[in-house]
């Protein structure tokens, strides 16, 4: 499903003394099937932007097109449910949304709200539970008896079970251990590859943005600062640093090597494999000095 944002502005608490401009003149096109990463300093409007993608917030100016639906400033949209069925959001700390008596019921909550039968919902629940790497014997447990990491996975399963066509992720791995982080990021990537659903990820991890995204958007002070492929974005390290961001570890390593031996590598290395290949070829050619 294609998503376009045109000149989107959002003011929180509009027309009160607390009014706050959180987004202005945001233009983003997300073609169907893209893996888009949104990076930006804290407070740059990333979460606000995400909430426009399924009508939780409405633009105070401009419009958001989601597939055949349009959310525009000052207009009422009756199809919010239809939009929300298609766009699933995993919020920051999604485990805070758990409420049911059992894990099974909680995962079934979303699908059943959107009219899926109980039998089918249970099937979807089991399927998504496997996807997030949990076993079926926790289905009858209370979600509040689980560990933090397990709760996070159950909450994610609850969104996956809705079978969204667009998956929106707001720092889904914040506060997890490194192993769990990689597992969950790989899980989202696999789903993206398998089902071709558009995935929109907000992250503070430059490594994640570099290794998974097709396209990166930099948010700065409520507006889009730059859009480009990971290679384009991460080749401008000075600019990233000036925005309070960083480059991935591999790029930082590459910059150090280039500085030390006074020679440029052939390309910006976004993964360990790329970097080690480049270093190998550099060594083969012989390092000066």
């Amino acid at each position: 499903m294609q998503i376009n944002l045109t000149n989107v502005e959002h003011k929180y608490q509009k027309d009160t003394p607390f009014e706050r401009l959180a987004l202005r003149e945001v233009n983003i096109d997300i073609p169907s099937g893209t893996y888009l990463a949104i990076i930006g300093h804290t407070g740059s409007g990333k979460s606000t932007l995400l909430q426009h993608l399924n009508g939780l917030l409405k633009p105070t100016k401009g419009s958001v097109h989601i597939g055949e639906y349009t959310l525009a400033a000052g207009k009422k949209e009756k199809n919010l449910r239809a939009i929300r069925k298609k766009v699933g959001i995993v919020f920051q700390f999604p485990e805070h949304q758990l409420f049911e008596e059992t894990v099974l019921k909680d995962i079934c909550f979303g699908p059943m709200n959107f009219g899926v039968s109980e039998k089918e919902a249970i099937m979807l629940a089991k399927e998504s539970l496997h996807k997030v790497g949990l076993s079926e014997d926790i289905l009858d447990k209370s979600p509040f008896d689980l560990s933090g990491g397990q709760m996070r996975r159950v909450a994610i399963a609850g969104v996956l079970a809705m079978k969204p066509e667009v998956l929106v992720l707001d720092e889904p791995t914040a506060g997890l251990d490194p192993g769990g982080r990689k597992e969950i990021m790989d899980l989202f990537y696999d789903i993206h590859k398998e089902t071709k659903i558009s995935t929109i990820l907000v992250t503070h991890s430059m490594e994640d943005a570099a290794s998974y995204a097709d396209e990166i958007v930099i948010m700065h002070k409520g507006t889009v600062y730059e859009t480009g492929s990971p290679r384009e974005i991460f080749s401008q390290s000075d600019q990233l640093v000036s925005l309070g961001l960083d480059v991935p570890n591999t790029v930082r390593m590459q910059l150090m090597i280039e500085q030390q031996c006074g020679r440029k590598l052939d390309q910006i290395c976004l993964t360990m494999d790329e970097l080690s290949e480049q270093i190998e070829s550099l060594l083969k050619r012989g390092v000066p000095k």
Binding site: D15, R84, G88, F91, H96, L98
Partner: protein, 265 residues
């Protein structure tokens, strides 16, 4: 949704009302609540209305914001007005249409009671809009301090109040966040049949309760580990300072009281 709420909210600004001592403002409001019942004719209502407007003007709260925030109360006032208008059957008959009869006293009562209501709401809102919750608590604690003699746990009550006030915005924020998370999972809070909307409360309240209990426990631990032992011998970081302008405010409300006593019929 709760954007326009103004009850219990503080608007940071530089105004004469903001700079007054919270004790002066509390006493003023306390006295005002009593003396407003002295007003019973046009002259007294004009005087008390002028006082209200003066206070309002001194607070620098944008009128549009105030009116927008008071809209829910406005309907209540309107309701009271019509109640008095139609059901007081004293004085001359002014108007009659089918079974609707409006009497002179009904109209008078309707207007007076609505004004009283409006003035009360305005003055109390101005108190909370221009005073930080923490100052209100400090003010109350100092004002009630003499009651300690009678074993009233003034400090503990003040602490409870400041903690609850402190967590109101947190709770609102969290409500907003959980509502959004559940709405994204297909819960409808503001559309659809009433039955479904009532059911939608459960997925909202349970996470709220869970996190509130967790937070209360964390707060207690944090306080204990920082050596909190109750109010005994505890000094204050923010000291209240009574200045001449505070005395002037109290003098003004005294003058208002005397005026009302002289003018009332």
């Amino acid at each position: 949704m709760m954007d326009k709420m103004i009850f219990g909210r503080y608007v940071p600004a530089e105004s004469p009302m903001h700079r007054l001592d919270p004790r002066a403002k509390l006493l003023m409001v306390f006295i005002f609540v009593f003396i407003i019942f002295l007003a019973n004719n046009i002259a007294t209502y004009v005087v008390i209305g002028a006082f209200t407007l003066l206070i309002l003007n001194m607070s620098k709260i944008p009128a549009g914001f105030l009116i927008g925030g008071l809209r829910p109360v406005f309907y209540l006032i309107l309701f009271t007005f019509f109640l008095h208008l139609f059901f007081t059957k004293e004085g001359d008959l002014l108007f009659k249409w089918n079974f609707i009869e409006v009497y002179e006293n009904g109209l008078r009562q309707g207007i007076f009671i609505s004004l009283r209501f409006a003035f009360l709401i305005l003055i109390t809102s101005i108190l909370t809009l221009t005073t930080t919750p923490i100052s209100i608590t400090d003010g109350l604690e100092t004002l009630f301090n003499p009651l300690k003699k009678w074993k009233l746990p003034v400090h503990e009550l003040a602490l409870m109040m400041s903690i609850s006030l402190r967590f109101i915005p947190t709770l609102m924020e969290e409500t907003d966040k959980i509502m959004k998370a559940q709405a994204a999972r297909g819960t409808e809070f503001s559309t659809g049949p009433i039955k479904n909307r009532i059911k939608a409360i459960v997925p909202l309240l349970i996470p709220l309760f869970v996190s509130s209990f967790k937070r209360a426990e964390e707060l207690a631990t944090a306080m204990e580990s920082r050596g909190y032992r109750g109010g005994e011998g505890r000094t204050k970081y923010r000291l209240l300072k009574w200045e001449s302008k505070d005395t002037i405010l109290l003098a003004a409300i005294m003058v208002l009281t005397v005026l009302l006593l002289l003018l009332r019929s």
